[in-house]
């Protein structure tokens, strides 16, 4: 008899966890992992694999967990995914690998993400094996940006024996994994551990290097790099463009989360960067970023945190688990609501005026388009507002790299392999697709690494 439901993952109590930035889910024990693994039907056609952007051999690693051979399981995963501890925690599994799972047609799908996380955490407790690196090829490659796209591309190229240097604008590598996703969802030590492994493989990481300012892409070629991968992400915050948006107390989610995560403002004054959160907080948006901001605000002492979202909960782009956690912790969801103006006193925001919305015809994305209900204006008192309505591609590299073709929405144009309009320049991740997911950025980094490797070895006839 197959267990119809997933083995539950133990979590920190919702009341206790809003006082701490410690991680919420505890992860499976070996017994729990083996019990969950036993639910997998080992489908020959493995439809789950099609749902994973990096094609992890899912039935194989799950069988290995079931058999108790955790070392083999992590090795299987790492053949195609070098950041399993991250993906197991943050992938939107319900729309990726777990969506096509055969078991899911009748019961709950196999908890693939939780099993992946288990295998990765098991490895980190039992000594991580640094991947073997091929003998040096003599090629030098520059990777711009150290988010999941850049880190994955760097790892794959270094493994082939190339000498990779990663250039990162901020003072710590990791991209959104460091500055965006909060500690309670993705502990920073996990990201730092993965980066340490990369360094052990020989990847050089230069922080405080803003490409487009400190150097340009052309300078990198002049310095002797033979190929450049751009993984600069979607770091440009979008604002609502409504009156009063610059009042004190209104943050972009990027600012709010960067203060807290990268700069550790939750430890102020032991750390120097401040962050200010009032008793009543409104977060505008319905994605992962909005959930992260809302749950962070609670942990910083807000008494009431409201999510304002213009569609309904069913359309929220956030991972189901994040919405669930947010609600459990007491975040209020106000759906079919859209802010139209802010009011301030003495320069500080005190009120947000909203319009009620209703769902109309489906739009280009297939989701029903929200339309305002005339005359439905109402006001909410607020002390802090966090705008989390999306990020656009970071414009600095496109602006400072002549000949780099820019496509719609400010993304860098690439072909399927990540090649840009400039010879030797590749791009991938959010900078090429617009804001997407960790695993799709990693997939792009992988494809470009393979393409760069092919073109370099071909160019010197060493293939």
């Amino acid at each position: 008899m197959i267990r119809p439901t997933q083995v539950p993952m133990r979590e920190r109590d919702p009341r206790a966890r809003t006082n701490t930035f410690d991680e919420v889910p505890f992860g499976y024990t070996s017994d729990e992992a083996r019990e969950e693994a036993a639910r997998c039907l080992q489908c020959r056609d493995a439809p789950c694999m099609n749902g994973c952007p990096v094609n992890i051999h899912i039935p194989k690693f799950i069988r290995e967990i079931r058999e108790g051979d955790f070392e083999a399981a992590i090795a299987t995963i790492k053949q195609t995914n070098n950041l399993p501890a991250v993906c197991g925690r943050v992938c939107p599994q319900e729309v990726q690998c777990q969506a096509p799972c055969t078991l899911g047609r009748r019961f709950e799908p196999v908890a693939i993400g939780r099993l992946e996380r288990f295998a990765a955490d098991w490895e980190s407790q039992h000594g991580v094996r640094v991947p073997e690196v091929a003998p040096p090829t003599g090629f030098r490659i520059a990777v711009v940006g150290s988010g999941p796209a850049g880190l994955t591309c760097a790892a794959d190229l270094q493994r082939e024996g190339h000498a990779v240097t990663v250039f990162e604008a901020l003072h710590e590598p990791g991209g959104v994994l460091m500055y965006g996703i909060p500690e309670f969802r993705l502990p920073k030590r996990i990201v730092q551990g993965e980066i340490a492994n990369l360094r052990k493989m020989g990847v050089a990481i230069e922080v405080n290097a803003v490409i487009g300012r400190t150097f340009t892409v052309d300078d990198l070629f002049t310095e002797g790099y033979e190929a450049v991968f751009i993984g600069t992400g979607a770091g440009l915050p979008q604002f609502l463009g409504i009156p009063g948006e610059n009042f004190v107390g209104i943050y972009s989610a990027n600012e709010f989360l960067t203060r807290v995560n990268l700069m550790r403002a939750y430890l102020f004054p032991d750390y120097d960067t401040p962050v200010k959160v009032g008793t009543t907080v409104a977060v505008v948006g319905g994605g992962n970023v909005a959930m992260d901001a809302a749950r962070t605000a609670l942990r910083l002492g807000a008494k009431r945190v409201m999510i304002l979202y213009r569609r309904t909960e069913a359309e929220m782009p956030a991972r189901v688990e994040e919405v669930h956690h947010a609600k459990e912790e007491g975040v209020e969801l106000h759906v079919l609501v859209n802010p139209v103006r802010f009011r301030g006193e003495g320069g500080r925001v005190v009120e947000v005026e909203c319009l009620r919305m209703e769902l109309g015809e489906p739009d280009g994305s297939g989701r029903r388009r929200p339309v305002p209900v005339p005359g439905s204006n109402f006001v909410l008192p607020v002390a802090t507002v966090i705008v989390a309505i999306g990020n656009q591609p970071h414009p600095l590299v496109p602006r400072t790299t002549p000949g780099l073709r820019v496509a719609g929405g400010g993304t860098i144009w690439t072909d399927e392999e990540g090649a840009t309009s400039r010879e030797g320049v590749f791009a991938g991740g959010d900078i090429a697709t617009g804001a997407a997911t960790v695993i799709s950025a990693m997939g792009a980094g992988k494809r470009s690494a393979a393409a760069i490797h092919r073109s370099l070895t071909r160019s010197r006839g060493r293939a």
Binding site: A169, H171, V207, P237, F239, Y251, R259, D272, T273, K276
Partner: protein
Amino acid sequence: MVNMIRAKQPLGPNVVELVVEAPRIAARARAGQFVVVRLHERGERIPLTLADWDPGRGTITLVVQMVGKSTRELGERFGIGDTIRDVVGPLGSPSAIRRYGTVVCVGGGVGIAPIYPIARALREEGNEVIAVVGARTKDLLLWLDRIAAVSSELHIATDDGTQGVKGVVTIPLQEVLTARKVAHVWAIGPAIMMKFCARTCQEFGVPVTVSLNAIMLDGTGMCGACRVEVGGETRFSCVDGPEFPGDLVNWDLLLSRLGTFTDEERYALERYVAAQGGRL
């Protein structure tokens, strides 16, 4: 060693000049740009203007006014041979240096230092540079020799009249604008000074560029902490600026946003001072 302090000297009460090893930044620096520094593992990221640089020696010069926790810590606890954890730059869009004709560069207080490289670049481009500098009192004036070396006239004003004319910088600025045909004015200093310089220039119909000191976090355009309103539009001062046309700036907004963290800043400073043994 990169980011090591090579020279340090006081320039007056609560102002220090630091020469820092930063060859990559020195090689690319242009007038009007700045760096972001983080003193140590627990430090915040603070913006400081590139007051000078030497690509040959691989150094940059920062002039720091000690106003709060981080700037006091930098001025008081960091000496020659110490290393600043992070220095990143050059950031911001460079000043629009070209041939204007006769230009005026106004520097107020510690703003005299960042106006210097702009004046120098304008002079090298063949402009006639008239300098106007001011401070509350004589002791707060700095770099007069350097400013004099790159200008054809140097006008000085102090609030208390201890040097130059008694009063604010807009007095000599007004005199220059009355007497001469001026093509462009640059003004750097406290927000309130820039605001009044902009007003004066507007009266004379002369375009004016100011350098906005908004609160910053990353300094690379990814957070929006530094947003200002210019001509009714929201701009990010770290990438779109820091220089903007002075007559179009919403000064009230800039000033109110500078007060975002007043309570936290005061608390951090008191705590720092207490830890230093209460020396204020």
